[in-house]
Amino acid sequence: MRVLLVEDDQTLGEAVRDHVASTHHAVDWMQTIDDATGSARVVEYGLILLDLRLPDGSGIDFLKALRSKSDATPVIILTAHDQISDRIEGLNAGADDYLVKPFNLDELTARMLAVTRRHSGSSSSVISIGKLRINIADRSIYSGKQEIILSGREWAVLDKLLSRTGAIISKSQIEEALYAFGWEVESNTVEVYISRLRKKLGREHVSTIRGVGYKLEGRV
């Protein structure tokens, strides 16, 4: 998943960026509303982590602008404002969750998972597809009793497919997910990783729709 982190504090921003990246998500870290608005305009994010007090404005205004454009990207507010009235204002503006600083990084991970799960309509962090049991929380996949190990890039592609299970994901959307990690993406990179996923997960689970894209099949 590609995450937009909007946080102006250098120390906290770095730590959150590194932590989120360590959980196999691509992170774009912006320190101003202007930069965040520009990024959100051109990139489709899976989640936005949003500070409220930023040098060039309020995160609430950014959130309201996002929602006014019918952008339903899940947003978790990260703020030092602990008052319940701030929280109510944030939720009313369209936030999906609200985390008060200082927070534990594990709690942030749990909230991110809960919000994305809620957003994708899934009530559990474990997704079963045929024999496969994919645990998004601890990044583990089992086929029966055998664990399947995926690389970071393979997880990035799978995340993208899992974000809309059963729906077609275009090649360019998958390329974008890979770009987010700063990796080199060549013309056949997507096909290479799709091929690896098929080999590891089972050919029947990832199908190709010629000229359109790819989709994850067989969700139970």
């Binding site: 504090d9 250098q10 120390t11 906290l12 770095e14 730590a15 959150v16 590194d18 932590h19 360590s22 007090r53 030092a80 404002h81 602990d82 008052q83 319940i84 009235s85 929280r87 109510i88 008060v100 600083k101 200082p102 927070f103 534990n104 990084l105 594990d106 709690e107 909230r111």
Partner: protein, 443 residues
């Protein structure tokens, strides 16, 4: 100190002054009237004597050989008691003629023209026939006194009747006049930290306008000071939390990257100290807010909704939060003009207190009753009355060994009081032999 009533003082002073002036005026009137009466009576006495004298002299000259004094009879027998009596005396003082209602004993008045007065009568003497005949007419002093008393009473009686009427009149006038003062007093007494709006009384008289303006200026300054204090505490919280969040997040990242157990253990200790520091800062910020009197608000808040948000926070934030059993009575509502932030701080402290100090293996019960009372109950050892009292003191942690700042209950107590609520602490809990119960009751 007993404060005097301005209304009572005004009524008493005005009435006393009015009565005093009336009495002075009446007394002066009586004296003037007595003096005027004296002049009238004297004039009448003199005129009577002078008109009587030629008649008497003529009569005496026609009956010059009378041996003894004569007493003149009335034409008609009458019971009328005359106020004027007279005697006609010769130069030796012998009474030669007198009116029917006096004896032949000569008057005490000397045989000398003019007025004379003793305790009983006032006399006027006229001489005739070359000072050989003296006519003396006497006017009873009792008659004069009676006239003066009756005249005085005629002035005094209406005054006595008017005194109670004037007291009622003054009371009504004072009450009506003092009404704007009462309005202003009420408007000022309605002000508290949650209502510092300027006083707007259009009907206030000119004399009270400066007071209203001064009070409004003070309210404005107070409002600014409180707002600045509240903003300062909120900003301080923000400014403190962000670096703490950075430090904690970097420490946790470092911990996840370190492989050596010794180093990892040291980082864990740093993380633990940071967590304690964060909790202490949090409590000190809450205390600062409580002292900035954030409890009240002009707007009515749905506190039932806030209660549920806070419970949801606890449930999501920690495993311990899942111990909370929440029950909201059917049709229970809790809408009050209090700050929802202050209410949330009170709840957080009470729930945190129950989770930290309660039995870890039994649930924490939170009930919102139909009347809007909140009960937070946890299991645990019984606290005696001294302990219940002392845990409301700052930095008093009772006999517990559980982690805590010793500030949660004092903060909750202070904010509850600002919100117009009472925080009752009970141990054992209601209908139980052990445990602790906090009851937050709104008036």
């Amino acid at each position: 100190m007993k404060h005097r009533s301005m209304t009572r003082r005004l009524i008493f002073s005005l009435t006393a002054t009015l009565i005093l002036f009336w009495l002075l005026a009446t007394t002066a009137g009586i004296f003037v009237m007595q003096d005027e009466f004296g002049e009238i009576f004297d004039g009448s006495l003199q005129a009577t004597t002078e008109r009587l004298t030629p008649l008497v002299v003529d009569d005496l000259l026609q009956n010059a050989q009378l041996p003894e004094s004569r007493r003149l009879q009335n034409l008609n027998e009458s019971t009328h008691k005359g106020y004027l009596t007279y005697q006609v005396r010769d130069a030796t003082g012998k009474v030669i003629l007198h009116s029917h209602d006096v004896s032949a004993t000569p008057f005490v008045a000397p045989l000398k023209r003019g007025f004379f007065q003793d305790d009983i009568s006032r006399f006027y003497t006229v001489s005739a026939a070359n000072n050989t005949i003296f006519v003396q007419v006497a006017d009873s002093m009792a008659h004069r006194t009676e006239a003066a008393v009756e005249g005085g009473l005629a002035l005094l009686l209406p005054v006595l009747v008017l005194i109670p009427a004037s007291i009622i009149g003054i009371w009504l006038i004072v009450r009506r006049s003092i009404e704007p003062v009462n309005d202003l007093r009420q408007a000022i007494s309605d002000k508290d930290s949650g209502n510092l709006a300027a006083i707007e009384l259009q009907t206030l008289p000119r004399e009270l306008q400066p007071i209203m303006l001064s009070v409004n200026r003070l309210l404005e300054r107070l409002r600014s000071a409180l707002t600045a204090e509240r903003e300062f505490t909120a900003n301080s919280a923000h400014e403190l939390r962000t670096p703490l969040a950075g430090a904690l997040a970097q420490t946790q990242m470092l911990k996840s990257e370190l492989r050596a157990p010794t180093s990892n253990s040291r980082v864990t200790q740093i993380e633990s100290s940071l967590q304690k520091l964060i909790k202490l800062v949090e409590k000190l910020m809450q205390l600062a807010r409580a002292e900035a009197r954030i409890g009240t608000s002009n707007e009515t808040a749905d506190l039932g909704n806030v209660l549920e948000l806070v419970i949801e926070d606890f449930r999501r934030a920690s495993e311990a939060g899942n111990k909370i059993l929440y029950a909201r009575a059917e049709a229970a509502t809790l809408h009050r003009p209090v700050s929802e932030d202050a209410f949330a701080i009170v709840l957080r402290n009470l729930i945190e207190n129950a989770l930290i100090h309660g039995d870890p293996n039994t649930p924490v019960r939170i009930d919102l009753t139909r009347h809007g009372t909140i009960h937070i109950v946890n299991d645990g050892p019984v606290l005696n009355s001294n302990e219940l009292k002392s845990i409301r003191q700052r930095f008093s942690r009772g006999k517990t060994t559980s982690p805590g700042s010793g500030l949660g209950l004092p903060i909750a107590t202070e904010l509850a009081s600002q919100m117009g609520a009472t925080l009752e602490l009970k141990s054992p809990a209601t209908n139980a032999t052990a445990g602790f119960e906090a009851i937050l009751r709104f008036s």
